[in-house]
């Protein structure tokens, strides 16, 4: 995403906004899915993220990348959805739509079952840190910006999360 498109979008240029939304829809959706574990809700969360993104982009100052900034919006949306008790801990995660075929997905499902189960056992913040650091490949500083906390907190939370994951995975496999 080039800076010209971002600048145009900040000024309310609709084609530029559309380009940004299309470029960011997949990162938003997969992050929301990782937090909500439900495809329908992740879809709703991605839509809400897009609406807020359009309304708030004028406030984007360029301190971080547009993806990092917009993932902060996604995180808030997911937090609110959790807070509203839309999601309960008893919800069973469903299978998301992926680019891979069903056979490949079935094979991977078994491989990742333990990890997936271990992830759901983590706290909300630990899941966020693991997702952002490992899956979204965000730096510690970017993760801290998205989560609205200090970099040291991210490091400590990640350390605790990995330790908990390791224990749980070894128990489950």
């Amino acid at each position: 995403m080039d800076s010209i498109t971002i600048e145009l979008a900040r000024k309310g240029d609709r084609p530029a906004l559309e380009r940004l939304v299309r470029a960011l829809q997949d990162p938003w959706f997969r992050f929301c899915y990782s937090q909500l574990r439900n495809e329908e809700m992740a879809r709703d969360a991605a839509q809400e993220t897009a609406l807020r993104f359009v309304r708030l982009i004028a406030n984007f100052r360029g301190d971080s990348s547009i993806t990092t900034w917009s993932l902060g919006i996604s995180l808030n949306v997911c937090r609110e959805m959790r807070r509203k008790k839309i999601l309960t801990t008893a919800d069973v995660p469903d299978s998301p739509t992926t680019a891979n075929g069903p056979e490949e997905r079935a094979g991977k499902a078994e491989t990742h079952a333990a990890l997936h189960q271990a992830m759901t056992g983590l706290s909300e913040r630990q899941q966020q840190v693991v997702t952002l650091r490992f899956f979204e490949e965000r730096s510690t500083e970017e993760t801290a910006k998205i989560m609205g906390c200090a970099a040291g907190t991210v490091k400590a939370t990640l350390h605790q999360a990995l330790r908990a994951l390791k224990n749980r995975v070894s128990q489950l496999t």
Binding site: R22, A58, T97, A99, K108
Partner: protein
Amino acid sequence: MSDLRSKLTTAKGDYKSLKYPGDLMADIAAGLGDGAWQPAQRSPAGWRYVAIAATAVIGLSVLLNSGGGSPVQGPTGGAAASVQQNPVARWSGNGMNASQASIFGNSAASSAMTDASPREVIFTNKIPQVRQVTGPMVPIDPRTGLPLGGNESRLTDYTIPSR
């Protein structure tokens, strides 16, 4: 830990393959008019909150200052400045007179200055107290909170002439 990291790396590929099912643009544009595409400016709501906060702070400070001290009950009651009988009318302490004390919100001290016979008002640092050393009781008008018996004229005795 390396086993976990390899699992995480493998899972990352799966995570990255997740796609939004459909066109997000079409989904959000369908239920919205053109006006919704205008990015919101921070100013309207932001300044409203700033104005509310400033009003609240000013209101609170006025409330605290005005409620800080009740009118001094003459030589015997109340809690305000330290009042001592003195043959010479001497308003000392921090050098304020009644009007100034009132301006600075110390209504109790202000009242003490306009109260009864000439006294020395000593301003303590934090919580002033009224202390009558000697001197007669002075009746207080319950309506005005001011001393009775011709002391009303003292109200003007100690005020600064307006500029």
